[in-house]
Amino acid sequence: MRHTESHEPVASTPPAEVRPRRHRTRDEPRHEPPARSTGGLLRELVTHLRHNQNQLRDEWANRIMEAQLLTAMSRDEIVAEATSVYDNYLDALETGTLEALQAYAQSLSERIIPRGVETDEVVGIVLLLRDVLARSLFAKYRADFEVLSRVLDAYEPAANRIAITVAVGFVQERERVIREQQEAIRELSTPVLPVRERLLILPIIGLIDRQRARQLTEQLLRAIRANRARVVVVDITGVPAMDSNVANHLVQTVEASRLLGATVIVTGLSPEIAQTLVTIGVDLRTMHTVGDLQGGIEEAERLLGLEVVPVTESKHPT
């Protein structure tokens, strides 16, 4: 049945709703029973989508598998995740707030990233859901173009915000995981070795950037404390080059170690790196340097054997 009524602006709307950008102000024929306000319309859509939840969810799951997404998961797993995504999707549509969805997106990402799910898959499945639901709305309202237009006006911006929220949440979680992994790799690649009592060796290999340098220093200082080391041999034979920032870090590491009562002997200093140190103002005479690792260890043992470990930087009385 069709009714024709003049359009009246509706005074009240729920507080946190998603508003479409355009408002239609001309006479709008009503379908049965379409809401007048956008908020009411959304609620009606959501009711419809909830009512047909199982069927639509299954359709979505099928499309996911047809598109060969989430291949890392079994059908049952896909259906299970699809169910909760669907619920959260509808909640977000209904309430217009995204916080709950953000939280859900993060926990979903935490679950599926270790399974090897990629960004394109996540974006893909969210867009597929959007399409499946849109088709369903098309089917329901196709008899009345005006109403369909309003329905899409209400649905589309909301659905797009949801897609973006989920995708961004996933990407951010991935980035966080990658950072963590990088940190772990850095830590593994620079072990501090307790060689004998009171003596640590830290062989550094490869290029050092600011992050790695900082991590090295932290690891070293904690190792000094844990092992009660008095001498540390830092071998940089395997470091091809060092810019002045990292050279500065090395100098700071030597001083910080001194403040924990440990003397640092630097071995494997190449002429280039020695030059860099001099350029930044380091007086190489105040730094213990020995040509190679073996020589450094011998020097360390000598220092320890005498039990006289010079822990002041200044050789001149103040």
Partner: protein, 126 residues
């Protein structure tokens, strides 16, 4: 809050227990310098294990303590600096040049003993 200063033989030991105000730090400096003179102490240990931040004022105070006690014949050793504090001190660019440092109280005392030995002409311990 005053920092307790204990006398252990020829050494004085000051253990900082909590964050100190500037006034506390100044009081500590005066106290140590006075007591070194009074007891003719040969060494001072300042235990900063409990200090979670060392800013420029704290560093300056420690440097002053080391300088002034040395003038009165005592060497000062700071012990127990936390790794994170050491990192921040060097990154901030503060210098503790001329101030001895050891890992903990035990190491600090060992250092002072060795210093005393060396000064009195004894052989270093093997």
């Amino acid at each position: 809050m005053a920092v307790p200063i204990l006398k252990q033989g020829q050494y004085l030991i000051a253990t900082i227990q909590d964050a100190l105000t500037d006034a506390d730090l100044q009081q500590l400096r005066v106290g140590l310098v006075t007591q070194v003179g009074r007891h003719r102490s040969r060494g001072v240990i300042v235990d900063i294990t409990a200090l979670d931040v060392m800013d420029s004022f704290a560093v300056r105070t420690v440097r002053d303590i080391a300088h002034m006690t040395r003038l009165r014949g005592a060497e000062t050793v700071i012990v127990g600096m936390q790794p994170e504090v050491a990192l921040s001190v060097v990154q901030l660019g503060l210098s503790l040049e001329g101030v001895h440092a050891a890992l903990d109280l035990e190491e600090g005392l060992a250092f002072l003993d060795e210093q005393a030995h060396a000064v009195s002409g004894g052989r270093p311990r093997g």
